[in-house]
């Protein structure tokens, strides 16, 4: 009969209406500022720079190789190289970014900078409450504002950070073994042996790159790695 469906529908909504008062399980709303859902581990929003150790300036992993600046699709990364050098995590002398700015209003959260970075220096943050009451100021974040500790990285992306740490530790161990071997064979030749490998970022890239697909079990890094080396080759 005409109108049967309407009655059925009305009964259904009435059931929902009454049920929502009785059964708290029905209410799916999360009261946002007070309650929050845990973020999925793969969530990402805006890049940050990782540093090791207590001092953010000394511990920055970034060596100002400018690959991310070149790869960035909306060109929102601005890097100035430093004149002097400082030792990186393996102890090699590297230049460091004197200026590392990201324009937050331009960034599109594509994660390409993270994928191309050979030094695991830039990662994606999960912070999403970025609203301010200032419309035009504070859009260009400098390296101090971008710096986050490795512990923070472990907190937001535990699995990924553990992999990265393992990789870095392996690299460091390899470098140390190399240094030890160099020190053992010709005691005086150690500094020159280190120097060529550390002179350009590209050599380090070549050294690190192959280890990435071999080590990384994470699927998202595997497809992104093959296209990266040829590009670097062109850049050189």
């Amino acid at each position: 009969m005409l109108g049967e469906g309407i009655l059925k529908g009305l009964a259904e909504t009435a059931k929902n209406f009454a049920g929502s008062f009785v059964d708290k399980e029905r209410l799916t709303t999360v009261q946002y500022p007070e309650e929050r859902l845990p973020l999925p581990e793969a969530s990402r929003n805006f890049p940050f720079l990782v540093y090791d150790g207590p001092d953010w300036e000394a511990g920055l992993r970034c060596v100002a190789c400018q690959i991310c600046e070149k790869e960035c699709p909306p060109k929102c990364i601005y890097i100035d190289k430093s004149k002097d050098k400082k030792p990186d995590f393996v102890g090699k002398m590297q230049i460091y970014p004197a200026k590392f700015d990201i324009d937050i209003s331009v960034c599109m959260s594509c994660q390409i900078c993270v994928e191309v970075c050979p030094f695991e220096a830039i990662k994606m943050d999960t912070e999403y409450e970025l609203a301010t009451d200032d419309r035009f100021g504070g859009l260009l974040l400098d390296r101090h504002q971008l710096a986050r500790s490795n512990e923070y990285y472990h907190k937001i992306h535990p699995t990924e950070a553990a992999e990265v740490d393992a990789r870095l530790a392996e690299e460091k161990a390899k470098a140390e073994a190399k240094a030890r071997a160099a020190a053992a064979a010709p005691p005086k030749a150690a500094p020159p042996a280190v120097a060529p490998s550390a002179s350009t970022p590209a050599t380090t890239t070549a050294a690190t790159r192959p280890s990435v697909p071999a080590q990384a079990a994470k699927k998202e890094e595997v497809p992104s790695s093959p296209p990266a080396p040829p590009k670097e080759g062109e850049a050189r």
């Binding site: 009969m1 529908g9 909504t13 009435a14 929902n16």
Partner: protein
């Protein structure tokens, strides 16, 4: 005491008017009544918005607004402040004068409809001889303000929304009138006060409301459908279908004018509910003779709010109709049924007292309803769409 409570507003008005000089008294009396209407119904509007949002939320297993004030009851205040402080934008190409006039005309016209509704014993602004006719004449004028809004905005969505709204309102005005005419036939008066008085009688403690007769029940159902369409409520909310037309005819309105349209829409809903209550649900009369001690205006407003709740319930349940379904339903089903109902009401009138007329009238209405519902509203199965030029 009970009588005083029932007539409290009337007495209050007389008391205030008593302070005025003789010459001003009729004028002040009218102003007081108008002020009461202009205060009470927007207040009811504020209440209804939060009720609607909470109710719809619960039907969708959500909580609804709960931030402003305890349980979100101050939400209408927040909405009001927001719409008052928002920038009032008039599109450059819009027809400024008509664009400005449209919301005003709508709200003024809708307010006028309340002037004939009896909201309690002796509580009506004017007891007009042709009250029902006045109500429909006023209701017909809202269409023009909607057209004005849609046309003056110079926006395709607005114009489409306005055309849809006007077409829909013109189509559903016919069944609306036809279903109300039945009541006039039986009562023998167009005055809404007389219609309520005719229903304010009791046999065995049960009221003589028209909804409790076969023709009254049928007329009430069709009146409800037509009134829902007339006030552009879901499921007949095609004129402002958000998924198709942004906001329909008031797309280009912002700030306070938008709020006026919103107010006009809800006031239209109230006046339609009030009219339905007056015609079929006994107006201000109590549902049981034993409950007559409760003031009459409480009954009127609780009936109106009850019908508003049903409208909200319907909105939470039914999906929007398509334009052709809407028109087919109006012209091919509701209108013939109202015409049949006219005949049934005449039959009822002339068959005299007794159980026979109940059986005959119910049988005719139910039989035709079932048959017409089976054949007339048969679901059409549309094949894949074909294009004449695109392929």
């Amino acid at each position: 005491m009970i009588n005083a409570l029932d007539q409290i507003f009337v007495l209050l008005k007389h008391w205030i008017v008593g302070f005025m000089p003789e010459a001003l008294q009729p004028f002040v009396g009218i102003v007081l009544s108008v002020v009461a209407i202009v205060v009470v119904f927007p207040g009811l509007f504020a209440l209804t918005t939060v009720l609607e949002r909470k109710g719809l939320g619960r039907m969708q297993n959500r909580i609804g607004p709960n931030r402003t004030g305890p349980y979100g009851i101050l939400q209408p205040v927040a909405d009001g402040i927001k719409s008052l402080t928002k920038e009032d934008i008039v599109p450059v190409s819009a027809d400024a004068v008509v664009h400005f006039l449209a919301p005003l005309v709508l709200v003024v016209v809708v307010f006028m409809g309340f002037s004939v509704l009896p909201m309690g014993r002796n509580m009506q602004l004017v007891d007009m001889d042709a009250g029902l006719l006045f109500f429909f004449a006023i209701g017909a004028s809202t269409e023009l303000s909607i057209f004005m809004a849609g046309w003056s905005s110079r926006n395709k969505y607005s114009l489409l929304g306005a055309m849809r709204a006007v077409a829909q309102m013109v189509s559903y005005e016919v069944p609306l009138l036809m279903s109300s005419v039945v009541v006039v036939m039986i009562t023998g008066s167009l005055s809404l006060v007389k219609i309520v008085e005719a229903q304010n009688q009791y046999t065995w403690g049960l009221p003589h409301w028209y909804i409790f007769t076969p023709w009254g029940c049928a007329a009430f159902l069709m009146f409800a459908v037509a009134a829902t369409a007339e006030t552009n409520r879901s499921p007949f909310d095609l004129p402002e279908g958000e998924s198709e037309l942004v906001a329909g005819y008031f797309t280009e309105y912002s700030g306070f004018k938008f709020a006026l349209f919103f107010l006009g829409e809800y006031l239209g809903m109230f006046s339609m509910s009030g009219l339905g209550t007056t015609l079929f649900l006994g107006g201000w009369s109590a549902p049981l003779a034993a409950l007559n001690f409760v003031p009459s205006w409480i009954w009127f407003f609780s009936k109106v709010m009850l019908s508003i709740c049903v409208l909200i319930w319907l909105r939470g349940t039914l999906p929007r109709l398509r334009q052709d379904q809407l028109m087919n339903f109006a012209w091919k089903f509701v209108l013939p049924m109202t015409l049949l109902n006219l005949l049934v009401a005449a039959l009822w009138r002339f068959m005299g007292e007794g159980w026979l007329r109940w059986v005959v009238c119910s049988a005719i209405l139910l039989g035709v309803y079932v048959v017409a519902g089976r054949t007339g509203m048969k679901r059409k199965h549309y094949g894949p769409r074909s294009y004449r030029y695109a392929e």
